[in-house]
């Protein structure tokens, strides 16, 4: 592959410069990868805003950015320049140092997570640590700290309310999010993100089929975790002006913005990795790697991953421009009364399903489990059974949730939808209206 000649070339060059292979592999290359990734992510974030503006424009019967460059393609760059050259303004009564550092924490927490996301096989992963999932959850929750610090240090009440909301929201939704992952991990039998993709690849299935409940919970809590609409309470502009970053402007504000979009990409990437097969797609391996085109394999896998990512991201945009915003207490209701119970039910059901599968394996000559080496590998009948369990899980979870919540006010809102009546009064009603109630 001509395209990848430079990689070998740089290797040779570094070796000739007298560096030993270990330094090259563990110091130089990671730095190059990180540099590339930070650049790509920063650009990506800029163009994600463009994408969002175009998609929202499409939904709202307008054009979106059109003036800067062809189809407004240079708009994100113009925005970036504008934000970078703005005055770095710190309010008089703000806690200067915390105010100064909070955006960096936000953006660092978001960017570090990218190091473990498997964008593709082989060289498309920066590090593959064996506790990848835990790492992602741990580091991304540091982002909350930035929000709280920013809200507190601004010394503005809107910021403070935004920070309070965001801390409560992120803490409660992280529980649901973490619990929802356990079901998928039971099938993958590993915490390494690459391992999870490999498990889905070797089993030739996407875990969303086994874990529809888990996938839904993950998506909802992921959106809430990112403070995106309809859960964008911390920055609800119609109530709290701009929430925790009310007092921020210019570069620091753009860091928060970048962190938000990066976090959005991370949650989508996690959803893709855990439930939608990551970079795995049927036939890709057989058509490329098996025929000896290794780099082509990596590139096609990378494209597969990005396509899946964009589909999940589109869902984000779609929801944001369609739905109204929840209220604070309703948001907590959803987190604690719907998502966490359903995540717990999902864990129990998945465990039960795997237990049943193992118990049934070999009974009267049924062959359900292929091997347990790379994740849980099932035979065709085993897969069919698990998918059936997954669909059953949807119903069972729904029924149990209904049982838990049937007393709550929000349970059946559609039945509370009323219609209004119309009356046709005669002309010249007396000046004092008869109260027409009842």
């Amino acid at each position: 592959m001509l395209l990848f000649a430079p990689i070998d070339f740089i290797d040779q060059l570094l070796l000739k410069a007298g560096l030993d292979p270990q330094t090259i592999n563990y110091v130089i290359w990671p730095f190059l990868q990180i540099g590339l990734l930070v650049t790509v992510v920063a650009l990506w974030v800029a163009y994600a805003t463009y994408l969002e503006r175009k998609i929202s424009a499409f939904m709202q019967a307008r054009l979106g950015p059109m003036r800067v460059g062809p189809w407004g393609l240079l708009q994100p760059i113009a925005d970036g320049i504008k934000l970078l050259t703005k005055e770095d303004f710190i309010p008089d009564k703000a806690d200067r140092w915390i105010f100064f550092f909070a955006p960096y924490i936000a953006v660092a927490a978001a960017f570090i997570v990218f190091s473990v996301i498997p964008f593709g096989p082989d060289w498309a992963v920066i590090t593959d640590i064996n506790i990848g999932v835990l790492f992602v959850l741990a580091v991304s929750s540091v982002g909350v700290l930035a929000l709280i610090l920013a809200g507190w240090s601004s010394n503005s009440k809107y910021s403070l309310l935004g920070a309070l909301r965001s801390s409560a929201q992120m803490v409660s939704y992280e529980v649901g999010m973490g619990l929802s992952l356990i079901g998928a991990l039971m099938f993958a039998r590993t915490l390494s993100l690459s391992g999870i993709v490999t498990a889905q690849g070797s089993d030739s299935i996407w875990f969303v089929l086994y874990q529809p409940v888990g996938f839904l919970i993950f998506l909802v809590s992921g959106i809430a975790e990112n403070n995106r609409a309809p859960f964008d309470l911390p920055e609800a502009e119609s109530e709290l002006v701009a929430g925790f970053h009310t007092e921020y402007s210019g570069f620091r504000w753009s860091l928060f913005f970048m962190a938000e979009y990066a976090a959005m990409v991370i949650v989508s990437a996690l959803a893709v990795t855990l439930y939608l097969g990551g970079w795995y797609f049927p036939l890709v391996y057989r058509l490329t790697e098996a025929r000896g085109y290794h780099n082509l394999y990596v590139i096609v896998s990378l494209l597969v991953f990005i396509t899946k990512l964009l589909i999940v991201l589109y869902l984000y945009f779609w929801l944001r421009w369609t739905l109204p915003r929840f209220r604070y207490d309703q948001l907590m209701d959803i987190g604690w009364k719907w998502l966490i119970p359903s995540a717990l039910i999902n864990i129990a059901l998945s465990g039960l399903a795997i237990f049943l599968l193992q118990a049934l394996d070999g009974w009267r000559g049924f062959k359900l489990i292929d091997s347990l080496s790379g994740g849980l590998n099932l035979t065709a009948s085993g897969k069919a059974l698990m998918i059936l369990f997954g669909v059953l899980g949807l119903f069972i979870t729904g029924m149990l949730l209904a049982r838990i919540n049937w007393r709550s006010r929000d349970f059946n809102l559609k039945s509370q939808r009323r219609s209004i009546r119309t009356v046709n009064l005669p002309q010249g009603q007396p000046a004092v209206p008869a109260s027409a109630k009842g």
Binding site: R62, K157, R325, R418, Q429, A431, A436, K437
Partner: protein, 377 residues
């Protein structure tokens, strides 16, 4: 009211259970320059105070120094969202005081155009109300339809927002050539679009959970406060000036009055949506029956109503717009007083908001449909 302490330092924030939040006058969803001082316990509103007057222009005083015909453009700036209705209340008051006979064609055109204005005003209300609750897309959809109406206004009056639509005794000029086809096209397309909003909002469970049971006001309380317009009808009181004291050509029109039941935000939302449908019905009928003839009455050189006082009111999009006029027989009024529906509807804010959360305050301001130009005058 102004003694409310709003400068709280961080130390006392930790100690006190209450927090005073100053909302506005620069705030995205106070619909102008309304300032609300909220006293919060956590996020629950325990007390609330409104501060108005940031847009005071002294309209009523200015009117005392102007000729009767010169006052009409000022009235457009009261409720600038519904300039056509506001203009109508002024010219009708003067006409009725002088006993002028306005030609029927002018009456019909006034009916059509005020109903169009009602739709435009309700659309803007829907747009901002939905935006306050977080549904951004409805904003742009509603503005798209409003644009059609504003285009008709532009061709008819030469202005989109503050139209100066009427003259004492009739209209400045007859309807433009394509007026009927333009209005027909709008009224044919409109119901489809309205159904679109309904699909996005009416059965959306987030919308329901944000509006059902929020800002409830009973029929008795609503009458006691003096609410009018859709805010009153949302509580189930069948009171509409178009029916009770018909003006313009409303006596010839057949239309229904939508009534809510519980008086909450959701009912007021449904009432306004249905009012838009009824407005379209009125427009269709008026176009059907539109008579020929002149659009202007014969007017004396200088308009001088007889000595005395007079009160006239019409059903504006936001409620009863009234005008109380005292004339001393000269060419300028002795005293003019406007009954602004927004100001009186705003009185209900405290009662509606207490015990609700900050997010609901925004929804309730939206549902009252206030315009600060009218409140402050």
């Amino acid at each position: 009211m102004h003694q409310v302490e709003i400068a709280t330092t961080q130390e006392t924030l930790l100690d006190s259970p209450e927090m005073v939040l100053n909302m506005g006058p620069q705030h995205p969803s106070t619909h102008g320059v309304l300032r609300i001082i909220l006293k919060l316990d956590g996020e629950t509103v325990i007390d609330l105070d409104c501060d108005i007057g940031y847009l005071h222009r002294g309209m009523e005083k200015i009117a005392e120094n102007r000729m009767y015909t010169m006052i009409a453009p000022y009235w457009d700036r009261l409720d600038y969202i519904a300039a056509v209705s506001n203009g109508l209340v002024w010219v009708e008051t003067v006409e009725q005081m002088m006993g002028l006979e306005v030609p029927p064609r002018a009456h019909y055109l006034r009916t059509i155009l005020t109903e169009l204005n009602r739709i435009a005003s309700h659309l803007l209300w829907l747009a901002t109300h939905a935006l306050d609750i977080g549904a951004v897309t409805v904003l742009l959809w509603a503005l798209r339809e409003r644009e059609e109406i504003l285009k008709i206004f532009e061709r008819q009056f030469g202005a989109r927002l503050t139209c100066h639509a009427w003259r004492v005794g009739g209209m400045p000029n007859d309807a433009y050539d394509d007026f009927q086809s333009d209005v027909r096209r709008f009224s044919n397309n409109f119901p489809k679009r309205l159904d679109e909003y309904e699909t996005v909002l009416s059965e959306n469970r987030i919308w329901l959970s944000r509006t059902v049971g929020i800002g409830v006001i009973s029929a008795e309380d609503a009458i006691a406060i003096g609410l009018s317009g859709p805010s009153l009808r949302g509580s189930g009181v069948a009171w509409d000036i178009r029916k009770a004291r018909p003006y313009a050509a409303y006596a010839d029109m057949d239309f229904d009055i939508p009534l809510g039941e519980n008086g909450d935000t959701y009912d007021r939302y449904l009432v306004r949506l249905e009012e838009m449908r009824q407005a379209r019905r009125i427009i269709d009928q008026a176009l059907e029956k539109l008579p020929d003839g002149p659009v202007n009455a014969k007017l004396p050189k200088i308009v001088k109503p007889p000595v005395g006082d007079y009160y006239h009111s019409i059903e504006g999009p936001k409620g009863e717009i009234g005008c109380y006029l005292v004339s001393d027989g000269t060419a300028q009024p002795w005293r003019v007083r406007v009954r602004p529906p927004s100001l009186i509807n705003l009185q209900a804010l405290k009662q509606l908001c207490l015990g609700h959360l900050v997010a609901d305050v925004v929804a309730i301001i939206g549902t009252l449909d206030i315009v600060l130009g009218e409140i402050d005058r």
